[in-house]
Symmetry: C2
Subunit: 123 residues, 2 copies
DNA sequence: CCGTATCCTAAAGGATACTG
DNA sequence: CAGTATCCTTTAGGATACGG
């Protein structure tokens, strides 16, 4: 299959309109964390080492806007919010897992390449 | 399959060490463009609408460092440089295509979700 | 608890000029 | 042709404080 045929990678091809939104630092991880069921804000946050509240909030908003997760305010005090995958969000997990398996399988080879490259430019 | 089990998404899990390097604005497109064979710098550039020379250079360097492409200076004047996929780079294309197919199939639904979301916050 | 708002710093990104 | 170097502007990102 040809990817983005004709005008390859014009600014409005699906890849560029959607890929940028899901290929950021945290989105994929959020989707994976939500796989086993709905979670509250801080429950998600605890599983993503190093994420700040601001970054996570922005990420969750973007995922919600793109229809990949839902946000539900629970009638509780203090406030409680639950995030949950939509069917669309769930459908992204198969391609994502393929990518994850690739990273796991390829990382050793990549690290060797990095070493070789870094030594070469140091010389 | 569980993704990044135990300490989910610790800073050193394969996803975070490698994914960030290939999930940027241009890398995936570069790999796709090189699929049909080696290409020279400007040949790649012409297919990526809006990329600047600086951004493309950085992207190609990173791909080279990670062992996904090779860079070869041809004995010519003026200088000519050829970029080519490595087997490792080629092996990334299957997972990438799965993702591309997902974006194509999901974009209509995503656009509806965006509309609904934007109208909802405007109100 | 789940955010938003503000401020500040660091980093990304474009434009231009220059070189082998 | 294929970069590198410099400058500059814009954006992202963390830290903190505060509110529903």
């Amino acid at each position: 299959m040809e990817i983005c045929p004709v005008t390859r990678f014009a600014a409005n091809c699906p890849l560029r309109v959607l890929f940028d939104q899901i290929a950021d630092k945290w989105s994929m991880m959020v989707l994976a964390v939500l796989e086993s069921g709905p979670l509250r804000f801080n429950a998600v946050k605890r599983q993503l080492e190093g994420v700040t509240q601001k970054a996570l909030t922005q990420c969750l908003r973007r995922l919600e806007r793109n229809g990949l997760i839902t946000r539900r305010v629970l009638p509780a005090s203090p406030i409680a919010v639950e995030y949950e995958l939509t069917p669309l969000g769930r459908s992204l997990q198969d391609p994502f897992k393929a990518l994850y398996l690739w990273t796991v399988a390829s990382l050793p080879q990549v690290e060797l390449a990095r070493q070789a490259f870094d030594e070469r430019i140091a010389a």
